[in-house]
Amino acid sequence: MIKYNHEIIFCAAETSYCGAYFKEVKMSLDPKRKAYLESLCRQFRIDVIETLHSIQTGHPGGSLSVCEILTAIFFEKARFDAKNPKWPGRDRIVLSKGHAAPMLYRILAELEFFPKEDLKTLRQAGSHLQGHPSPNHTPGIEIPTGPLGFGYSAALGMALAQRLDYPDAYTYAILGDGETNEGIVWEAAMSASKFKADNFITILDNNHVQLDGPSNVIMPMGDIHAKWSAFGYNVIHCNGHDVEDVCDAIDEAKAKKGMPSIIIAETVKGKGVSFMEGNNKWHGSAIDDESYKKAMAELKGGALDA
């Protein structure tokens, strides 16, 4: 079913880039499927906050903002086999903003890459769930990420190498907006464009907050649509908290041939927990008991409303 709508996506007020984009909204997901994915996202948020509270370490803000992006990729769009994670023809998924590993691990567990019980051990000595993604520890991880920017070039490398052997496989790379401060991101972008990596789909988790503060204060990136476009990308915008919209954006990216695509997904850092939303304090702070109770009430309350 395809419904043509004109949806206006406004960038959040604090961003230095303020444009409006009209795009066609295709209702590509079956409504039941969409409701299911939304209920998964609700549960993922609850579980991630529960885990991060119990271990008193880890990054809540960027885990909450990337939830629908990862859900759309892993549950709808990417091809892989959790029972055979090394299948060479698989799509590659690289969470370049590796600090959002808690959400990635929660999703990998749902897909049975490893047992859900393991999530409790996150970040503890002896766990296979390292603070940042590590392929030698955790099934479903392609390459270590954590030092921001490097995962992006690595992902491009995968896309270009895969194209030689498996031309129908895609590589998905997920960037943080602060991460795009790194020069290496733009070096990778030049290469992606030069080598016409149309099997390389970048999703920017554009939550407008980095570690020390709001992104437009710490390092204003200006007109990012124009920047990516000038670097030779097909630039697509979507609401990063609408699973269906993310899916549609991925379809649009796949349809574009001869150049790489980036999906600028508008998101909110700490999405779903009011006091974490848009607040850099919750980039990587341990969750105290009182905040935990409040967060749970909000996240679970949301589940009852639905």
Binding site: G58, H132, S134, P147, I218
Partner: protein
């Protein structure tokens, strides 16, 4: 409870850096973690947060220093000494520039974040760059004094290894620290432990326990890894005849290497045992769990001392 090394550093950078007009401070979106934020609040016009761009930051610092500035560069040392390595070598080291690299979260102190955020190779990297002075913080007071020295006296490239953690207090207000210096913290005839950073307090603990067993150990803090106090290394290697090097670093390229280079080239032959990271990565975990698991403990130093003594004359 002593202040954490990062708090001591941030406080000292504020205290001595703000009134020193030519001090400039840079950070790459980690000022809340490195504590350079304390300087930033009081001297915002001399503070530059460059966003997440370490490569740019270190080269920028090089340029600033050529205009008469004393530039402090702050970020996790796991990125500073790797992403920043080319500018450190080709610009700062080669150009003999007045840049102070403050290596936050060294050793395993990036604990939960895992090996990509740990730094067990920084000394190996920075020690190999000509013209750099290299210091390692072993307690709060030393951190304060060396930061003061770097802000107000030292001109030229320097690397200062810090930590996220609090270390037991070793020094008193009257202690002084200079390039090429070391501190002999206790003297014993049976063996010597050369140590740096977190492992200095572990070596002292070990010396205390060994004393109860009748084994007398000298403990030296080689806080100036470069220039290195060669005379003290030779003196105690010769007088005790059993040497231990204890460092929160890879066994390759750090304190163990530095000590053994001096011993061999100076002919101070003695058995040498190393308490360090065997050539491998650690893993994610709580700092105290990791230091235990990977043997950065007083027990490990004790065992190494006994082993070195047992090898005497063989």
């Amino acid at each position: 409870m002593p202040k954490s090394i990062r708090d001591a550093y941030g406080e000292a950078l504020r205290k001595y850096g703000v009134p020193t007009e030519n001090v400039i401070v840079l950070d790459a979106d980690l000022s809340g973690s490195t504590k350079s934020v304390l300087f930033a609040r009081e001297a915002p016009d001399r503070f530059f947060n460059v966003g997440i761009s370490e490569n740019n930051m270190v080269a920028m610092a090089a340029g600033m220093s050529t205009c008469g500035k004393n530039v402090f560069v702050n970020t996790f040392t796991s990125f500073l000494t790797t992403i920043g390595a080319c500018a450190s070598k080709a610009l700062i080291s080669y150009g003999k520039l007045n840049v102070k690299l403050a290596g936050a979260y060294a050793g395993l102190s990036g604990a939960y974040d895992g090996p990509s955020h740990h730094s067990l190779e920084d000394i190996a990297i920075m020690r190999a760059m000509p013209n750099f002075t290299v210091f390692v913080a072993s307690d709060e007071i030393m951190t304060d004094r060396i930061t003061k020295y770097l802000a107000q006296e030292h001109v030229g490239p320097a690397y200062f290894r810090l930590s996220r953690e609090a270390f037991p207090q070793i020094y008193s207000e009257s202690d002084t620290f200079v390039p090429g210096g070391s501190k002999v913290l206790c003297e014993g005839k049976d063996a010597v432990v050369f140590s740096m950073g977190f492992m200095v307090s572990k070596a002292l603990e070990a010396a205390k326990k060994l004393k109860a067993e009748g084994i007398e150990v000298t403990v030296v803090d080689l806080y100036s890894i470069k220039p290195l106090d060669r005379d003290t290394i030779v003196k105690y290697a010769k007088s005790t005849g059993a040497v231990v090097a204890a460092e929160e670093h890879n066994v390759i390229g750090g304190l163990t290497s530095a000590v053994s280079e001096v011993m061999l080239t100076e002919g101070a032959y003695a058995p040498l045992e190393s308490v360090s990271m065997p050539d491998r990565h650690a893993e994610t975990g709580k700092y105290s769990d990791l230091t235990k698991k990977f043997g950065f403990t007083a027990e490990a130093v004790e065992a190494a001392v006994k082993k070195a003594i047992s090898r005497k004359g063989k």
